[in-house]
């Protein structure tokens, strides 16, 4: 016979509690013509959602878990990571709690959504894979993403993937991988949201080069003073670009930017994110087999 207080009912109760906790900070985002999407209350007056569900600049509103609809404005958006931050005219009651530990494959998770005023929706699954980095177009690079087998129902974009304790493991979106659902890990999403709250956009650097990976010989590696099997051979330098202004030449092999080794295009994209923009930055290149460090003022990708 089934014991009414067994581990299965305990697990079921825990899932309900997780939905209630995270659901209290999951909202509906009304910013497109089709059905509403979802969002996560990041701080009492800020809602984190997917950028691609914010289809208009004005007439945006957010429906809170208590059913009230609050006008909102865009506080910041980053199409490259498909995140947008909305500012509420009236603060929400509960903010989401971010998971403290990184996600692990096999961990139980719930995808939540609130696409409208008919209550919270949920789907159960596990973390299926952790991947990345992946380039997302427009110069963006997502350092890491999560995949889950929890079902992303329509309108779940911008909503949370939550762990068994109701803490947010990431933000779900179908806008980064041609309609397939990806989850932006909470640590990354919260970091980007913080920048969006302060600056309204994420600055991404621009060099103005075309490159391809090229192997570095053992002899050349000894001049680097480190083991690095490849760098980026410049095959084009755009006229009028930051790279040209700084003196980079076709034939140079970029091996590091701002002290961080660069051995493939993903690492180049990562090195151009954030604080280097607009700042003279040391770019290490192999030129004629010799290591040179050239100061380049990194431009901003528009």
């Amino acid at each position: 016979m089934t014991n009414e207080n067994n581990t299965l009912t305990a697990l079921s109760d825990a899932m309900v509690a997780a939905v209630e906790k995270a659901g209290a900070a999951t909202v509906a985002v009304n910013a497109r013509r089709r059905m509403p999407a979802s969002g996560v209350v990041y701080s009492p007056d800020l809602v984190l959602t997917a950028d691609h569900v914010v289809e208009r600049e004005d007439d945006i509103s957010v429906t809170l878990p208590d059913g009230s609809t609050v006008p909102a404005t865009i506080a910041g958006r980053d199409p490259s990571s498909d995140l947008a931050l909305l500012r509420l005219d009236i603060p929400a009651a509960a903010s989401a709690e971010k998971a403290s530990a990184p996600a692990r494959v096999g961990q139980l998770v719930l995808a939540l959504g609130r696409p409208g005023s008919d209550g919270i929706q949920a789907s159960l699954g596990v973390i299926s894979a952790i991947g990345g980095p992946v380039r997302t177009g427009r110069g963006g690079l997502l350092e890491q993403y999560l995949r889950t087998d929890a079902i992303p129902y329509p309108g779940f974009s911008g909503g949370p993937l939550v762990d068994a304790s109701g803490r947010v493991a990431g933000i779900n979106t179908s806008g980064l991988a041609r309609g397939a659902s990806l989850t932006i890990p909470a640590a990354l999403a919260w970091g980007l949201a913080d920048t969006l709250a302060k600056h309204g956009h994420i600055r991404r650097g621009y060099l103005g080069v075309r490159s391809q990976p090229a192997s570095i010989t053992t002899a050349q590696q000894s001049s680097l003073g480190r083991e690095q099997g490849s760098g980026l051979l410049l095959v084009g330098v755009e006229s009028g670009s930051p790279a040209e202004a700084g003196g980079l030449l076709v034939g140079d092999i970029i091996v590091a930017i701002a002290g961080q080794p660069v051995s493939d295009p993903d690492e180049l994209a990562a090195s151009l994110a954030g604080p280097v923009v607009g700042v003279p930055t040391p770019v290490e290149v192999l030129r004629g087999g010799r290591l040179e460090t050239i100061a380049v003022t990194i431009g901003e990708r528009k």
Binding site: T2, T9, I151
Partner: protein, 228 residues
């Protein structure tokens, strides 16, 4: 409790639920097109299934309804009542010793609750799938009196995998109690069930001798608890 013993205990509890439900699960044959599932709902041989499972034998079908019981016995089944807008039908078989299902309180179910569906998808008998309740709401359903007459029916959606043959089978909670009758698949990945309290009302009306073709009143309130 350590992680392994927790997992083993969880395992046993899940197997218990499946076993408990399968004792009250039948196969409903409509004599024409395939089969559905049914739940032994009450003592007295009362079996609940979907309207659409039995609908094909309406008219003067030469093939009578019959049910295969958990012990393999096949019996003719009498159609006592049907409600198209609820996709429910009530059957009765003449036998003793049936094990009625445990019926759960579907008015207190919650999103996130762990559930299992048991049925006969693609003819595989007693197949168990698992998931959670994904949302609670209502669906608009025709009441059989023309397209303009729509009735709001409480429904529960789950992320449990369903397929043809799950129709009429139970959606059960973690304690093995029946929360509803699985009725159809929307968009391939979200199963819909009619909550047990709606089934109870349907049976009460049917056995109370009221008209069985129209056992529901139009409902305008969207709360699931306000049905009838």
């Amino acid at each position: 409790m350590n992680a392994l013993s927790f997992a083993v205990s969880l395992d046993e509890a899940m197997a218990d639920v499946a076993h408990r439900v399968q004792r009250s699960l039948v196969v409903v044959h409509n004599g024409k097109r395939g089969a559905g599932a049914g739940v032994i709902w009450r003592a007295g041989g009362f079996i609940v299934t979907n309207y659409h499972v039995v609908a094909h034998r309406r008219g003067r079908s030469p093939h009578p309804l019959h049910a295969t019981l958990p012990d393999g016995q096949e019996l003719p089944a009498r159609l006592l009542a049907e409600a198209e807008h609820l996709d429910l039908a009530l059957l009765q078989v003449e036998t003793v010793g049936l094990q009625p299902a445990l019926i759960a309180d579907s008015q207190s179910m919650k999103v996130g609750q762990i559930v299992f569906a048991v049925g006969h998808p693609w003819g595989q008998l007693g197949y168990v799938t698992s998931g959670v309740i994904s949302s609670l709401g209502t669906a608009q359903s025709g009441n059989g009196h023309g397209a303009s007459a729509q009735i709001s029916v409480p429904i529960v959606r789950s992320d449990v995998l369903l397929a043809p043959g799950n129709s009429g089978g139970p959606l059960v909670d973690a304690a093995g109690g029946v929360l509803g009758i699985n009725t159809m698949v929307v968009g391939g990945d979200q199963g819909v069930a009619i909550p047990s309290h709606v089934v109870e009302s349907f049976i009460s009306q049917a056995l109370g001798g009221r008209p069985t073709q129209d056992s529901g009143e139009p409902v305008t309130d969207k709360k699931a608890g306000d049905w009838m």
